[in-house]
Symmetry: C2
Subunit: 307 residues, 2 copies
């Protein structure tokens, strides 16, 4: 892994690019031309948990991407199709890593080519200050695992390089337990935050009164666990405990789906609750609460098109 | 019925006051002193479906209210407790009419006195242009029925006076079928509108795809119907048909709960979905979807207190 391409330079993509450029040649595929121009001109700066200045080769035109060994697809859900299309028919020797929220990104990539795929889930977070400056806030791990018959050695090699670059990463023989734990957590917490406008605070764990919001979060988590069980995934962490622990932290996290709703941007609902509801349907599991919040978030998105 | 007091001069209260002043002495109890002052100075103007200029005696101080035969309580849910408190210990010979959204207003009034009570549900609507000007938009009926052992003749007399004033009204031996139809309709439509930001448009009836929003509205309606059945109420109209019919109208109605959420005002959730969920609990009916949207709307209200 000498040459890495980061597809999508949001917070997560920028954190990967800024660190990996210390140990590899890094190219970046952006959506906007001005973003690529700024990265080529100014480089990329990481502050916060680490302090890096990185030189990267950026473009918004896949025809101009240099060869690479590994691509890390770190777009938002809404950018995934375009990213997969950009890769289609190119770089047959490369391995593609997906680190999007939710599940199902691997299938979208597979529909466009035969590359070996590595599934990823990242718990790190940051804040985007500009096109060329990202602040590294939560220095938590990225977990990687093989998708289909990708050799574990490939996964291990990528994880080692990420660790060498200064980020935290771990290769797991089976990523699905972690991926599903995060999926179920996000499906409950992100939707409730997006619909109520509440950051991830104490309300999400409150169950004293029968109508407290914690019951809904718990109900959504229980539905997700029933789907995971039907799919045959044993969870890595209990999503309800993840929820309770997170609300005990000092400052309440502002979930990305709530940021998206505030900005009237398309949310990641399709890869998160949408995927969960479709998996439930495929396995004959009833998920009325998840279907309800899925429909409500989609309704919220639809409202932005209404005069 | 010679002397009427209108408690709460929002849209509905103003429509009653502006019309009834043509045939009765009308006093108005307002929340704000400036509102009472403006009404005393300028009178009340109704435009739209009717054209009225009315002279009313307004005050925000219950000690200064003149005697009356009938009070029509037309506050929003959030103003009900204060209204009931204002009436407590006064006007023992009067009859009190409640025309709030939802159910349960009668019990709040009863807890403050022994007056005969008349239950009301109104389908009329309007737009408030100022403290002294309201536009009459939907000239639909107000239905009245006896609460507890109030004689039907009393209900009939009040309905006759309302009709004589130029509004539409009907006295029914049992109001609950109409009250519950509207309750179930409002509990589904108002909450989904408040949470999605959608006016009451085609999305609410859409059921082509398994995840379309109409399924959630239908599910909420079905839960409401199960509660009505457990309570022993036979519905006057099918709330799902009310929903479908309303979405076929030319312009989409903007539900009051969505207006409240937009303005970050306390909503009427407690008398609507809150009452429904409590009735369900009392009768052992499971209403997971109603409980979910109830919690989400309350969460939205709570978010306004969060920094």
């Amino acid at each position: 892994m000498e040459r890495v391409c980061i597809v999508g330079a949001g917070v997560i993509g920028s954190l990967f690019a800024g660190h990996l450029a210390q140990v590899c040649d890094v190219s970046v595929l952006t959506r906007r031309k001005e973003h690529a121009d700024a990265l080529n001109r100014d480089g990329l700066r990481v502050t916060g948990r680490s302090d890096r200045r990185a030189c990267v080769t950026a473009t918004n035109d896949p025809d101009h991407l240099p060869e690479f060994d590994v691509a890390i697809v770190a777009t938002k859900a809404g950018g995934l199709e375009a990213a997969a299309e950009a890769l289609e028919g190119r770089f047959p020797g490369a391995t593609i890593v997906t680190v999007l929220n939710g599940i199902g990104a691997e299938e979208v990539i597979r529909s466009r080519g035969h590359w070996p795929i590595v599934s990823g889930v990242t718990f790190m977070s940051g804040t985007r200050h500009s096109d060329t400056h990202v602040e590294y806030i939560l220095d938590t791990e990225t977990w990687l695992g093989p998708y289909e018959d990708t050799p574990f050695a490939t996964v291990q090699d990528i994880a080692d390089t990420i660790v060498a670059s200064g980020l935290k990463a771990e290769a797991l023989p089976d990523l699905r337990p972690a991926q599903w734990s995060k999926l179920i957590f996000n499906s409950a917490v992100n939707t409730v935050a997006a619909l109520t406008g509440l950051p991830h605070d104490f309300h999400f764990a409150q169950q004293a009164e029968p109508t407290d919001l914690g019951h809904l979060v718990h109900g959504l988590v229980d539905e997700g666990k029933a789907v995971a069980a039907a799919v045959g995934v044993e969870l890595h962490d209990d999503p309800w405990e993840m929820n309770v622990l997170a609300t005990l932290r000092g400052s309440a996290h502002y979930p990305s789906m709530l940021e998206d709703v505030d900005a009237r941007r398309q949310t990641e609902i399709e890869l998160i609750t949408g995927s969960l509801v479709r998996e439930a349907d495929r396995h004959g599991v009833l998920v009325p609460l998840s279907t309800a919040v899925y429909g409500l978030v989609r309704g919220r998105e639809a409202s932005w098109a209404v005069i």
